[in-house]
């Protein structure tokens, strides 16, 4: 449990906001499921493909 804290690095949190994505919905590939910048980019690309 993470007490509502999103395990995402600051740059990934910022990028998600800029892309209009909910960071809590981005699957993380880092340790403990940590969300990295690359994960946000990949999630954004996947969202665009119907």
């Amino acid at each position: 449990r993470t007490d509502g804290r999103v395990l995402a690095v600051p740059a990934a949190r910022q990028l998600a906001r800029e892309l209009g994505l909910d960071i809590t919905q981005v699957p993380g590939s880092g340790p403990n499921g940590r969300v990295r910048v690359l994960d946000v980019h990949q999630h954004a690309a996947a969202q665009q493909q119907p």
Partner: protein, 462 residues
């Protein structure tokens, strides 16, 4: 509109907001009724740190004989100390003015008061702005019966001005401000007592860290009384007679002091601002409530720093200033810091970031801790500063770092690593696997991480 953004207040929050907004191409004004730099630069962070450093040097000179360095009579020229401190303040506030000029921020001088939601009167002129940022800060809270004259009975501002070192001083309030001044005055030669109404000093800090911290403060001569309050003050000539009560036993005593510091907290400052004219709501405690984008209930009006809520810390205000400016510039910024660090700049320092052990347990975490005492640090020995430790609070199983609590020299600087680790969602293993330079105090952070796993090298693991 005269400006895209009008910032009210030029403290840490206000000048950060103004400069960032200008960097983002907005036409910015910053109104300030007093001196630029606000409380932090003028009567807060900076001057206290200058006094703390000077006091520490004086104390250090007394310990230098341990390694064979002796002086003649060590004397502190108080007026020279004041001049040096004031010089630093002047240089830094001048720096903020220069930054305003370089970033083309218009500096408006005068008390600001809302006329309506887009109009602010500053002094005797009125200005309009599309967005407004309230950064009016806070002021020392008052204690009934203890009228501050800034001479014998002082608040944090008055305590910065020393003409003669008081023989006996009472600090009312065992928070950060109370202890920093207690430390300054103790090092200058005063006999200082700190009283705190609550059962523990430095509320918000980890209990083990506070215990270690108070042990060292007492060793250095500071008397500490918790669950204690000051009832009344009587001036008899140059003496201050203070009635003190233990709130648990009800026992009352009257003690005599030469100077009394009232440091019972700070309250948000909105006097004269007239936020009602803009429709901005203020809570009954005087704070302006904001969302994660620093917006008040009026969407184009923002509030940052002390006036926007606790903790009242400069770096929190600075971050909020950047967020407000970026949101106004159309960026999707928000105050999403994992943790705001806290620091007491005594010697040793007490510094922490993230959850205390008690907070982590309260939130339902299965907690593991690791502690590394500075008495086992080679670097600490060479610095004659072995009081203290690094304590790491980690989630069992995931090994996720939850909080770091440090008592020791340069704890405030070591905290940077801990803050980054929290933001990056690091585990204790990540920290333990990071090569830290030897010999440094920072190694204690590594060793505390190792201690979480019962694998520290320089101590026995229990």
């Amino acid at each position: 509109m005269d400006f895209d953004v009008l910032v009210i207040g030029a403290g840490p929050g206000g000048y950060h907001a103004a400069i960032r907004a200008a960097q983002l191409g907005l036409k910015v004004a910053c109104a300030e009724m007093d001196k630029v730099g606000g409380v932090c630069l003028n009567v807060g962070c900076i001057p206290t740190k200058a006094l703390l450093h000077a006091g520490e040097q004086l104390a250090a000179s007394r310990h230098a004989a341990d390694f064979g360095l002796t002086f003649g009579e060590t004397r502190m020229d108080i007026s020279k100390l004041m001049g040096w401190k004031d010089g630093i303040v002047k240089k830094l506030t001048g720096g903020v003015s220069s930054l305003f000029k370089a970033n083309k921020v218009t500096h408006l001088i005068g008390q600001a008061s809302f006329v309506d939601a887009n109009t602010v009167r500053v002094g005797d002129k009125t200005y309009t702005a599309s967005s407004i940022i309230i950064a009016t800060g806070s002021e020392p809270a008052r204690l009934p019966g203890f009228d501050v004259d800034q001479d014998r009975v002082v608040d944090s501002t008055g305590a910065l001005t020393i003409t003669e070192v008081p023989e006996r001083m009472l600090a009312i309030g065992g928070g950060v401000i109370g202890f920093e001044f207690a430390h300054v005055y103790t090092n200058l030669g005063s006999k200082v007592k700190v009283i705190e109404f609550l059962p523990n000093v430095i509320p918000g800090a980890d209990a083990d860290a506070v215990r270690e911290f108070t042990k060292s403060m007492k060793k250095q001569g500071i008397e500490i009384a918790t669950s204690t309050k000051a009832n009344k003050l009587e001036r008899k000539g140059n003496e201050l007679h203070v009635e003190i009560e233990n709130v648990q036993t009800g026992e009352k005593t009257t003690e005599v002091y030469d100077r009394v510091l009232v440091a019972v907290g700070r309250r948000p400052r909105t006097a004269g601002l007239n936020p009602e004219a803009a429709g901005v709501q203020v809570t009954d405690r005087g704070f302006i409530t904001v969302d994660r984008q620093q917006r008040t209930n009026v969407p184009h009006i923002y509030a940052i720093g002390d006036v926007a809520g606790n903790p009242m810390l400069a770096h929190k205000a600075m971050k909020e200033g950047l967020v407000a400016a970026e949101v106004i510039a159309g960026k999707p910024a928000e105050q999403d810091a994992v943790a705001i660090p806290g620091v007491v700049y005594t010697s040793p320092e007490l510094a922490w970031v993230g959850l205390t052990e008690a907070e982590a347990k309260e939130k339902g975490f299965q907690v593991k801790t690791g502690v590394f005492p500075l008495s086992a640090s080679g670097r600490a020995m060479t610095l004659q500063s072995t009081d203290g430790f690094v304590k790491m609070v980690v989630e069992e199983g995931t090994d996720l770092l939850l909080g770091v609590h440090i008592v020791g020299p340069h704890a405030s600087d070591l905290l940077g690593e801990a803050g980054l680790a929290l933001e990056m969602a690091a585990t204790a293993t990540d920290i333990a696997l990071t090569v830290h330079a030897h010999p440094t105090l920072g190694e204690s952070v590594l060793e505390a991480a190792e201690a979480v796993h019962k694998q520290a090298i320089h101590i026995m693991n229990r």
